[in-house]
């Protein structure tokens, strides 16, 4: 069961008395070794990030001469400028900037609409549940897990019919449709723990469907809204498959443009520019993770421990 509490599980152990099993291991395994192992794993996880950062700040010649692991001897931010505004992405030398903006224009409305729909759905499914509502929820949820290869062919046609083919609006629509399941999951599980008596009491006082939602549930929905928004933001920002399938040259999201930059380089491979571009694509989600890491973890956990 993963109502909001599931997420609380990752609390630091500090303050709680150590269960005996843990302190037993302590005496057997010297703490130093333990910390060394943990530090080695830190290096393992940080290494690719280190590689990306240092190599985005050095001239190409330092990378090709076998210096990938060393700090730049000649620091430069030129690769960043190039990746942002002058690198050849696909046909034109526009840099990644227009695609970064595409991603922003795609992710903001998609996240906003999907979150609102999810909140309303969760409200209905828990406080106004009816016969078959669990089945409906199950069917909504299954939609998040299908391999999206199943919908690529009909979706391409459908977007064409709707006049949304190759546009950012089309991508917003696609992400909205396949995000509803998760946003509904979050709000449903959260509202399930919300006292139904309050809702019933308000009903007796004459409050209507939307009044109850706005006045009673919405004010306490902050935490789950944050989780849902983070989850959707990361997923939609990081999406590649839909972006690659349903966008034109001028509506490509960041991930697709970045991949084009790296794969299609004719002539010299500018590794430093690739790394700078990769960091740009990673920055928004990394920032979210660093600022709101706790909620990010909750989102991941709730997404995996359903019910």
């Amino acid at each position: 069961m993963a109502t909001a509490p599931t997420s609380e599980v990752i609390t630091p152990a500090t303050g709680t008395p150590a269960p005996p099993g843990r302190s037993a291991l302590r005496t057997h395994l010297p703490r130093v070794v333990l910390y060394i192992i943990l530090a080695l794993f830190c290096i393992y996880y940080l290494l690719p990030l280190y590689v990306m950062v240092v190599n985005s700040l050095k001239p190409l010649s330092e990378i090709t001469s076998g210096g990938m692991m060393s700090l730049p001897s000649d620091w430069t931010i030129e690769p960043w400028g190039s990746a942002w505004s002058t690198a050849q992405v696909g046909v034109e030398a526009t840099g990644l900037r227009p695609y970064f903006l595409n991603s922003l224009m795609m992710v903001v409305p998609a996240v906003a609409i999907t979150t609102i729909l999810g909140a309303l759905n969760g409200y209905v499914l828990t406080k106004w549940s009816f016969r078959g509502s669990t089945l409906i929820f199950g069917l909504l949820l299954f939609g998040c897990f299908i391999p999206f290869q199943m919908v690529l062919i009909p979706m391409a046609r459908m977007l064409g019919l709707m006049g949304l083919a190759g546009s950012v609006s089309g991508l917003i629509f696609v992400h909205l449709v396949y995000g509803i399941g998760f946003s509904t999951l979050y709000f449903r599980n959260y509202y399930a723990a919300f006292p139904t008596e309050l809702v019933r009491a308000a009903q007796i006082d004459g409050a209507g469907f939307f009044t109850i939602f706005r006045r009673i549930l919405l004010p306490s929905s902050g935490p789950i809204a944050v989780v849902c928004i983070i989850w959707l933001f990361t997923n939609i920002w990081n999406d590649f498959l839909f972006g690659a399938s349903f966008s034109d040259f001028d509506s490509q999201p960041m991930t697709v443009a970045l991949n084009n930059l790296v794969q299609s380089s004719t002539g010299v491979k500018e590794y430093n520019v690739h790394f700078a571009g990769a960091i740009m694509a990673a920055l928004p989600t990394l920032l979210v993770y660093i600022v709101a890491g706790r909620y990010f973890v909750r989102g991941l956990m709730a997404g995996s421990v359903k019910g």
Partner: protein, 300 residues
Amino acid sequence: MSHADTPRRSRSVDWLRDALPKLVLSPSIVLVAIFVYGFIAFTVYLSFTDSRILPSFGWVGWQNYTNLFRIRAWDTAVTNLAIFGVLYISICCLLGLLLAILLDQKIRAEGFIRTVYLYPMALSFIVTGIAWKWFLDPGIGLEAVVQGWGWESFRFDWIKDSDMAIYTIVIAAVWQTSGFVMAMFLAGLRGIDGEMLKAAQIDGASTFALYRRIVIPQLRPAFMSAFVVLAHMAIKSYDLVIALTNGGPGTATEVPATFMYSYTFTRNQMGIGASSAVIMLMTIAAIIVPYLWSELREKK
């Protein structure tokens, strides 16, 4: 509450009030009915037709499926998925469990370390793919660096080696997801009842026995969730392969997701592409449906 109104007005208000929740839910239901289930039906139908560059409706029965299983690239894709899936899931689980147990020893900087282990999960697979692509590239990456340090005979060119390239995808994917599995197990560990551990310890259980007999069995729900999430990610994995190896060298790292895409959109064999997507759906459904079923039934 409209007692003062005429009965007729009141009835329509009542009707609206009763129907409102369902009305609010209905757009989502309609969207999912069309764009998930309708589309599934459409793709299943296409998989029995002679569609090539565009959907066409000439019925060919099971022919696409029999053809599919004769295509060598599909064979490679399925084998690769099996290798990748087994290694990815088991290494992530083992590493995740190990890290969770290590981190559960009242570590000083736990918050920081957890952040470091988990951040790759926030990255796009494209970013992960690019980072590892160049890091593993023998010309500039690890191999060149180690050789530069003086170990001239050092070789690590898996990413260019048809037999080994699939393992580089495992390396990058494990890097991306293992921290998340760690978080799931850590959550499970924190939920274990300390009293039971205390009792077992008083009975003289060794630390190893304690973990093997008491702690790990209690992590079963976490294992289940991790398995479902990882299996589902493995089957759907597309972006990472595209960014890291682009299916190459040759077709050495083709997986079902890339196979489906290239057969449908670049080789104009839509019928075969659709049938490969159906196989993917069946595989995922075999894992997800029982899981959702058990989770939702318990809840009720």
